[in-house]
């Protein structure tokens, strides 16, 4: 077992899991959190974890952590992945650990590596301005054998290093290049649109092997998902497992948890979307914890620890043959645009047998709701549990549109 885990970033649920399990840890995060940490007796080191670059001095941070006897670093935010990689490079005496961390943080590099290793990806390019975007679309159309008058091919642009869907733009025509892509979005990755059902996984890796694989079914990306995935997707578990192991091998990932997104194409193949190695959004690990009867956050942390034997590690995970008896799903509630004055939990929800609870926040007073960026700013989550995946899907879909704020 690690002497002490350094948790880089900030996640109260992870801290709570560590406290409950009585595992040694210290949180490394921005100094602004210090007083809060002190108030709640959270072991804490304040450090400016600004964007990692050539100026970043991980040796200084390692020095600071030495007195805590830290030997494993765990990234909690997208932005702390390189910091954790740098520290773990030192702890494991392997400079390539940091290089691998860069893979997660540069989407173009990530795609190239995947392509090199033989994963199925779209046509992609790094672009730096609108003109290059137009040229990219031209070449894409050409490859798709477009005839005059036919619609443009679809593609996506994403910033190299942003988390989740922040800055992600879906471009459906050449006009939209100028309309939707802002000058500040450049440079970015352009990639042709991948078809198929989108889903995400959480693969817990130890010694380069998948110890546990969770498959999450999205009902609507960023709004609702459930665990385990429905029978259709779970039927592909073996294929998914194989593809992820391939990804792990190509990237050379040894420890930690990865959170790849895939598209299940109609021909039964998987298209690789992207991969992160942080805690996924949508409370997915919480759903996985409930479905599989374990603490997925704790499992996430200990997966980073090379010193654990397989047996020791196994105690943090469900048995290998465990089949979840129920589906656990949630809907993130966003007030609809316009004015809202109060929270009103719909009657039909309270009557619903699959409904378990919610943590919706009442607005402090009348307020105006604008649009949303990324998947932030939700007002809370409504949770469901039940035996039938079809019913779960139906409910989650339904409650995306039900207004909770009036």
């Amino acid at each position: 077992m690690a002497n002490r885990f350094a948790l880089l970033g900030w996640s109260l649920p992870v801290i709570e899991s560590m406290q409950k399990a009585r595992l040694p840890y210290v949180v490394v995060s921005f100094p602004e959190f210090e007083s809060y940490a002190k108030e709640h007796s959270i072991p804490f080191i304040g450090y400016r974890l600004d964007e990692f670059g050539s100026h970043s001095n991980s040796l200084a941070l390692a020095e600071l952590l030495r007195s805590y006897d830290v030997d494993v670093a765990v990234p909690l935010f997208e932005e702390t992945v390189e910091w954790a990689g740098a520290l773990n490079s030192i702890y494991r005496d392997d400079p390539r650990v940091l290089n691998r961390a860069f893979l997660f943080r540069n989407k173009a590099m990530m795609k190239r590596k995947a392509l090199l290793g033989g994963l199925r990806v779209g046509l992609f390019e790094e672009i730096h301005n609108h003109e290059q975007a137009h040229r990219f679309l031209g070449r894409l159309n050409e490859a798709e054998l477009q005839l005059p008058g036919e619609e443009d091919a679809w593609f996506h642009v994403k910033p190299f290093a942003a988390a989740g869907t922040i800055g992600h733009r879906f471009i459906r025509s050449s006009d939209e290049i100028d309309e939707k892509i802002k000058p500040t979005d450049f440079p970015c990755l352009a990639e042709s649109h991948l078809t198929g059902q989108e889903f995400s996984c959480e693969a817990f890796i130890h010694r380069g092997k998948i110890r546990f694989l969770n498959i999450t079914e999205y009902v609507k990306l960023g709004y609702s998902n459930f665990v385990p995935a429905g029978p259709e997707l779970e039927a592909k578990r073996a294929l998914i497992h194989t593809e992820i192991q391939k990804l792990v091998d190509i990237f050379g990932i040894e420890y930690g948890m990865i959170h790849p997104e895939w598209f299940l194409a109609e021909d039964g193949h998987l298209n690789f979307g992207e991969v992160a190695c942080r805690i996924p959004g949508g409370h997915i690990l919480e759903l996985a914890s409930k479905a599989y009867h374990f603490d997925a956050l704790l499992a996430f942390v200990v997966s980073h620890d090379p010193s654990l034997s397989d047996e020791e590690l196994g105690q943090f995970f469900p048995p290998r043959d465990f089949t979840p008896p129920k589906y656990y799903g949630n809907v993130m509630v966003f007030p609809k645009s316009g004015h809202i004055t109060r929270l009103e939990v719909p009657e039909e929800l309270v009557e619903e047998a699959y409904y378990t609870d919610n943590n919706l926040v009442a607005p402090l007073g009348p307020q105006k709701i604008g649009g949303r960026e990324g998947f932030g700013n939700h007002f809370g989550t409504v949770n469901f549990a039940g035996e039938d995946a079809g019913r779960m899907r139906e409910l989650l879909k339904h409650y995306e549109d039900v207004p909770f704020y009036v």
Binding site: L12, E16, R342, L343, E347, D357, N358, L360, G380, N383
Partner: protein, 658 residues
């Protein structure tokens, strides 16, 4: 269903355990989840009983910590209803708080700072203060705006509390509440009527107990004002009996009903039937039916024909309270004033603006039948008859309500003229420093739902008056920067009755409270008969007061009118004032609790010992020419007593210039 409840209960217990064990930083999140489950359980009888069983564990888990419900001793019974109707999550916390109080009362939870007796008393006060809610079945149209499940939660909660709290024990408190309400004589009597309806249905007022008798007086006044009325199930049948009754019986009947109205302020359907019968067949009985004295009788005899028209055309069962208003108008001899007479005549013949008609109809209960004109005229009778019966409801319109009250007392002609303008043109025009302000042309303030639980005149006039007042305040801020805007706005808005001197405790330029001693001295020298040369006040004085809560913490500003300072029957000097927001029990902290009855108040007045009242004032108008240095003679100890109360209450929020 049983399994479902079981699952919900188990899940709740799991969440409760998680909440109890949760780290300090994840309490809030886990509390939200726990509450959402309690919310589901509150919607069934079994769930509620289960929660009541679990309330000691919930209390121990710290559910109430960090919330407004933390300390039972700081809870306020009459606020419970509003919170229960405020929707989730407030309603759920409130319901759990009641369950905890019940558990304290039944000694299932021991609380060092709050005894079982205190908890019982709280629950009794709470049921009495929220009496209508406690017995409501929520079937009326007025409840349609609330979520069904929320109302069901409230209904089940009160059913549960009532099972643990026998209604008979509440009799003295209910009687107090009804008497206080009646003594205060609001124009809108729906609250007292709803209470009496519940009492009539649920409380057997048999026997000769003191409290049963007190309550029976009111229930009878409303439902069976005489044995003969009791013998006839409907006013129609009663009317048929009247046709055949002997002279002596009719006379007895008329006096009895008239007296009941005068002593309770309530009008029954039988009384309206009797009044109509008398006007048609036995006009000499009308004064008795209306409970008039010599002044009233003189006015009635002079305007008999007009009174007959008013009753026939404009008073129907839906606005029968106008009978009391009419009686009061006659008592005040208002119809014998030329301006009032003409303006009232004119009012009865106006074409009401369609928007105003709509507003008037929104103000009545959906099941009641009355035309906009009937509502308007009936409302005008009530406001003229009961100047101190105006209330602001949930509207932030204390200034306008105060104006209506003052004009009704001192300028009924002006009031009626404003009403005619508003009713016909949906507009009113005021002068402000040489310029005209039309309400229809002023910008509307922030959109706020208008509370229609007001008398018809308020429904018609308040929106206009509020806008005019707001516009005047805006202009004053521009025209007289640095001056308190009330100096110029109050005379323009209320009229020439406002005195020319003005004092405020606050210096807006310096941002300080200053010259407080002088402020108090001048107040006493201007209005207190012991210091002003033994004079009574002539006109009401509009005052700005700091509203404070039970802990004497400042809540905001409010407008009231000082009516008189006189010795109470007990011998102490009291300030009698009009407060447009005097529903419910008020507690201003430091032991300051305005009284509305029993301390020498006339119907509609509130009162406080003078020094307590002065301690909350921040601005008033006065007549500087009549001071003649009398302020110097106000004893230091009088001033000091007031200043201490002020500094230790609202004064904590301000910086004082020493």
């Amino acid at each position: 269903m049983y399994e479902r409840h079981n699952a919900q209960e188990n899940r709740f217990l799991d969440s409760l355990a998680i909440f109890r064990e949760a780290a300090s930083f994840s309490k809030a999140e886990n509390k939200e989840r726990l509450l959402s489950q309690a919310d589901v359980l509150l919607r069934s009888t079994e769930g509620l009983a289960f929660l009541y069983q679990s309330i000691p564990q919930m209390n121990e888990s710290g559910l109430f910590e960090g919330s407004s419900w933390r300390d039972p001793e700081h809870l306020v019974p009459y606020l419970v209803g509003g919170t229960l109707l405020a929707g989730y999550p407030s309603s759920t916390m409130e319901a759990l708080s009641e369950l905890r109080l019940l558990a304290i009362a039944e000694q299932r939870i021991l609380y060092p700072s709050f005894s079982a007796e205190q908890a019982f008393a709280f629950l009794e006060d709470m049921v009495v203060a929220n009496f209508e809610l406690a017995y409501e079945d929520f079937s009326g149209e007025a409840w349609a705006q609330y979520a069904v499940g929320e109302l069901e939660k409230i209904r089940l909660l009160f059913v549960f509390i009532r099972e643990h709290l026998p209604l008979e024990h509440l009799e003295p408190k209910i009687a107090d509440a009804v008497e206080t309400l009646s003594e205060h004589r609001p124009i809108v009597v729906s609250r007292i009527k709803r209470m009496l309806a519940v009492i009539d249905r649920h409380l057997p007022l048999e026997g000769d107990g003191h409290d049963a008798r007190r309550l029976r007086k009111f229930v009878d006044a409303l439902y069976r004002p005489s044995p003969n009325a009791d013998n006839h199930a409907t006013p129609d049948e009663y009317r048929q009996w009247l046709e055949h009754a002997g002279v002596k019986a009719l006379k007895t009947e008329s006096y009895q009903l008239g007296e009941q109205m005068v002593s309770t302020g309530l009008v029954s359907d039988y009384q309206l039937a009797l009044l109509r019968f008398a006007l048609h067949n036995k006009a000499d009985l009308v004064p008795a039916v209306l409970g008039l004295n010599a002044h009233g009788i003189a006015d009635y005899e002079r305007h008999q024909a007009f009174v007959a028209i008013l009753v026939r055309e404009f008073i129907v069962p839906a606005n029968k309270q106008a009978v009391y208003g009419l009686a009061r108008v006659l008592q005040r001899n208002l119809l014998s004033r030329k301006a009032t007479w003409h303006s009232f005549n004119r009012l009865t013949r106006v074409d009401i603006h369609p928007e105003v008609e709509e507003r008037l109809l929104r103000g009545k209960q959906p099941e009641e039948k009355a035309t906009p004109a009937q509502l308007l005229i009936g409302g005008a009778l009530c406001l003229l008859g009961q100047p101190l019966g105006v209330r602001q409801g949930n509207n932030p319109s204390c200034q306008s309500a105060r104006g209506l009250s003052m004009w009704s007392r001192h300028a009924p002609g002006k009031l009626l003229n404003l009403l005619i303008d508003a009713a016909t043109a949906n507009n009113v025009v005021f002068r402000y420093e040489g310029a005209l302000i039309e309400s229809a042309k002023t910008e509307q303030g922030p959109a706020r739902p208008f509370d229609y639980k007001l008398d018809p005149v308020s429904i018609v006039l308040i929106p206009h008056l509020d806008r005019v007042y707001g516009e005047m305040m805006k202009r004053a801020a521009v025209k007289h920067p640095g001056d308190d805007p009330h100096v110029s706005v109050n005379p323009a808005f209320y009229g020439h009755w406002i005195q020319t001197g003005f004092l405020s405790v606050y210096n807006p330029l310096a941002g300080l409270i200053e010259s407080y001693e002088n402020f108090v001295r001048i107040f006493y020298a201007a209005f207190h008969p012991e210091y002003n040369g033994a004079h009574h006040m002539i006109y009401p004085v509009p005052l700005g007061i700091f509203v404070t809560d039970a802990t004497a913490t400042m809540l905001g500003y409010h407008a009231v009118s000082l009516l008189r300072i006189e010795r109470a029957p007990a011998g102490d000097w009291r300030a009698y004032f009009f407060n447009p927001n005097s529903e419910g029990v008020q507690n201003w902290g430091q032991g300051i609790r305005p009284s509305v009855a029993g301390k020498g108040e006339f119907h509609g007045e509130s009162s406080l010992p003078v020094y307590q009242f002065v301690s909350r004032i921040y601005a008033f108008h006065y007549n500087a020419l009549r001071l003649e240095g009398k302020q110097e003679d106000v004893p230091d100890e009088v001033v000091e007593k007031v200043e201490q109360l002020a500094r230790e209450s609202w004064g904590r929020k301000y910086i004082w210039r020493i």
